[in-house]
């Protein structure tokens, strides 16, 4: 950076500043993650100065952004905007990611005049879809439903049948995450209708995977076997990943339903397909979630057959691989391992109990819609796991519904700004310090709180950061 400044190379100076911002952010995130790993409360860290720690990284990204703007480098501007958003939200660890994505979307929207309206509409549809996927795969079904519906509408308006199909299928799968198979059905139908216009083998495979998951949620084993088998066939040898995905889902669901019904034929099918999965993944380097799922299936089969030793061994393998892949929240693996290792009093029972309790508390905080939350925790596998570890989900009453409190747009904006890392002095630059203070006092009175920290906590729990 110093050399670039010395020779007046502005573009290189901006590149260096942005890279320094990324390094600075990574360093801070790593240090805070270490504190979390050592037992510190993530929420507490979030409340006590996460944004101050990230101020340096944010400042570097802002400097880069201004230089790129002066140079008219749109790609550079966007990348530094992303860095700014990344450092703007208080929580620099993984739980703040959905908030960061929402913030990037807001920043992108605010840059009027730099892109054409049609480009903006396309970008927005993709952004909505990406937030939907992130939320769906990270246990935030209410956010996934909101953004999935918007992505579907945006894709329809653009006439993009491919994205329409993906959004509809994603919504169908989101409903399944909290056991709502009936509400999932019409979205599956919409996906099928859009898929007819796309007519690709890959989309046909995706449809079979979705239908397989839908059949599994209804406990319809002949249907789920048929759909997953067709998905594996459509993947063929070229799409090895797709084949492994179908095999592992088939093995796990057969094991789950076979164990519940004491169905030897299903358990036998689960075992064969789990072994096929492990064979199929062998040519792929690295550890994969499909392996973890296959071992989880073998663990369930062994448990159903009364072989506690093999069940524990397979459950351990499943957990080890799952940890190694570092892919977020794999509840099926946790459920299988939890129901075997904890009641059997295996050496890892205490640590696993803590991990599951932590995961459930996290999801309990993330889902703000009380109905979705209650249904998410009422899915039979999760109810069983919650009983095993002694977890009681909250009913959401600790975070009052902002609609019921009739918060004004200005008050909601204060909450959003606070939760995204701005200080109170930055809230209403036009209304003056007194006006901002009065608005803040009214907000605190409505919420029955006495500090900005409590306001931030409320904003996160009630989900106003993304509403």
């Amino acid at each position: 950076m110093d050399i670039a400044r010395e020779v007046g190379a502005r573009s290189e100076e901006a590149d260096a500043l942005r890279e320094l911002a990324v390094i600075e952010h990574g360093r801070t995130a790593r240090s805070l993650q270490t504190e979390v790993d050592e037992g510190a409360s993530r929420l507490e860290l979030l409340m006590t100065g996460g944004s101050e720690l990230l101020a340096k990284a944010k400042g570097l990204a802002e400097q880069a952004f201004h230089i790129y703007e002066q140079l008219g480098d749109r790609r550079g501007s966007m990348s530094s905007l992303i860095s700014m958003a990344y450092t703007h939200v208080n929580d620099p660890t993984t739980s703040g990611m959905a908030g960061r994505l929402e913030h990037i979307r807001a920043l992108h929207h605010s840059r009027k005049g730099e892109v054409t309206e049609s480009q903006r509409a396309t970008d927005d549809a993709l952004m909505l879809y990406s937030i939907h996927v992130y939320a769906r795969t990270n246990a935030q079904p209410d956010l996934a439903l909101a953004r999935g519906q918007q992505a579907f509408d945006a894709a329809q308006a653009l006439g993009d049948r491919w994205l329409e199909c993906l959004a509809a299928g994603g919504l169908a799968m989101t409903y399944l995450t909290f056991g709502a198979s009936e509400e999932s059905t019409p979205w599956l139908d919409r996906a099928a209708k859009a898929a007819m216009s796309v007519a690709s083998t890959s989309m046909a495979r995706r449809m079979e995977m979705w239908r397989g998951a839908h059949a599994a949620s209804r406990g319809d084993s002949p249907q789920l076997i048929g759909h997953y088998e067709r998905a594996a066939e459509l993947a063929g040898h070229k799409n090895l990943g797709g084949r492994c995905e179908a095999y592992s889902a088939l093995a796990f669901e057969c094991a789950r339903l076979g164990a519940a019904a004491g169905d030897d034929a299903l358990l036998g099918r689960a075992k064969r397909t789990a072994l096929e999965t492990l064979d199929a993944v062998r040519p792929i380097s690295g550890r994969l979630p499909w392996e973890a799922l296959a071992h989880a299936a073998l663990a369930l089969v062994a448990q159903a057959e009364g072989d506690g030793v093999i069940a524990a061994e397979e459950a351990r393998s499943s957990l080890d691989i799952d940890t190694e892949t570092q892919i977020p929240i794999h509840l099926q693996v946790l459920w299988a391992a939890g129901r075997i290792l904890i009641p059997q009093g295996e050496p890892e029972a205490a640590a696993l109990t803590q991990e599951i309790l932590g995961g459930f508390s996290y999801v309990n905080m993330l889902i703000s819609d009380p109905d979705v939350k209650s249904r998410w925790f009422d899915v039979p596998d999760r109810r069983e796991l919650a009983e095993i570890v002694g977890f009681q989900p909250s009913d959401g009453s600790e975070a009052s519904d902002p609609d019921a409190l009739e918060l004004s747009d200005g008050e909601l904006e204060i909450l959003r700004s606070l939760a995204s890392g701005s200080s109170s002095a930055q809230q209403s630059p036009d209304s003056g310090a007194n006006g901002a203070d009065e608005e803040m006092d009214r907000l605190f009175a409505k919420l029955g709180i006495g500090s900005e920290t409590e306001a931030i906590e409320y904003a996160i729990k009630a989900g106003v950061t993304w509403r």
């Binding site: 995130a29 993709l126 990406s130 799409n239 990943g241 792929i284 690295g286 892949t325």
Partner: protein, 76 residues
């Protein structure tokens, strides 16, 4: 026709969506948990990669069409 996958690390914010959707094609970069890297993109078909690119929140996954196999990534 072949497709080459490029991860634009300037845009990447480490949401991890690519790993969730295509875990055999992407993995976390060793020693840097904030960013992914390519594992083996030849294990999935081109449509899966397009889905991953669409689902990346910062559009950091770029697919480049090339007329010959590049670095063994031949999806044609």
């Amino acid at each position: 026709m072949a497709v080459r996958v490029v991860i634009d690390r300037r845009r990447c914010i480490g949401a991890g969506t690519c790993l969730v959707l295509a875990p055999s094609a992407f993995r976390w970069r060793q020693g840097d948990f904030l960013k992914p890297e390519l594992l083996d993109p030849t294990t999935v078909d081109e449509d899966v990669l397009r889905e991953v690119a669409a689902a990346c929140p910062t559009q950091a996954i770029v697919l480049e069409e090339v007329f010959e196999s590049v670095e063994g990534i031949d999806l044609g």
